[in-house]
Amino acid sequence: MLFDMARTATTADAFNAVAEPRRRQLCDVLAGGEMAVNELVARLGLTQPQVSKHLRVLREVGVVAVRGDGRQRLYRLQGAALKPIHDWIKDYEQTWNDRFDDMDAVLDDLKSQEEQDGGSGR
């Protein structure tokens, strides 16, 4: 069965890591550029232990990387780890775009029909 092939839910992959809303928010903030923990704490309105915990999960799956800069540790987004998600969304979007493009053609026909009927189709 198709879905039996699915792995069990863990936080050990990017999908699960970014399923958590706070972690998605954290990714959004980091998308703006490299940042230290205290800045993230200020931006997100979370405690430092909370931010550190989320950062750890994101680092474990490679979504976030860190480097030392003097006494600071700077965190940054690693786009490549999110690419599988991006690719999936793109495939899914393409299916819908194909459907909706065909719907446009259907709607054009419906609009012409209404015009022929004297615009009284409502």
Binding site: M1, L2, F3, M5, A6, R7, A9, F15, N16, A19, E20, P21, P84, I85, D87, W88, I89, D91, Y92, E93, T95, W96, N97, D98, R99, F100, D102, M103, D104, A105, V106, L107, L110, K111, E114, G121, R122
Partner: protein, 164 residues
């Protein structure tokens, strides 16, 4: 749901752990978009997404009524979905269950909302899976490397639980 920006491209987002949200704007009033969305002979013209032949488009459009869509993808695999209408507000909103028949345990609830602004209609389609694992399975299954294309198609279709 706010009207979508004037853009005729589908936008897909994952607003929560269990949800998929699809939005798209149409250059047509909402009663026509609703008609295209709910009329079997019109559904047959678009639901296949150019990925096969649609073989079934059954719509019993009333609360408690059932729907079923099926297509044969590239002449080989049947991909079928069915569900039950939970709420119907004509030209405005349709809520239904939906089940991919290849994975009947992964039931979802989908809500289609039609919002008209200046003669254009924003369609939002919110698909909420019963469990996060089901949505995750859909996401993962759509991108397993090395699976043959046919399986990919089935899995993509599973992701696409959405006929309404």
């Amino acid at each position: 749901m706010a009207a979508v920006a004037g853009n005729r491209t589908a936008v897909v987002t994952l607003p929560s752990d269990t949800q998929i949200l699809i939005t798209r704007e149409f250059d047509a009033p909402k009663h026509l978009v609703y008609r295209a969305w709910t009329t079997p002979e019109l559904i047959r013209r678009w639901w296949h997404a150019k990925r096969g032949e649609m073989t079934v488009a059954e719509v019993d459009l009333r609360v408690g009524g059932r729907w079923r869509y099926a297509m044969v993808a590239h002449g080989e695999f049947e991909v079928a979905f069915h569900g039950e209408y939970l709420e119907i507000v004509p030209d405005e909103r349709i809520v239904s269950t939906e089940v991919f028949e290849g994975a009947p345990e992964a039931s979802a609830t989908s809500t289609a909302t039609f919002t008209e602004v200046d003669g254009r209609t924003a369609l939002t389609l919110l698909v909420d899976h019963a469990a996060r694992e089901h949505r995750d399975a859909h996401i993962n299954s759509g991108m397993e490397d090395g699976l043959q294309e046919a399986l990919d198609l089935l899995e993509l279709a599973a992701i696409s639980l959405d006929p309404d």
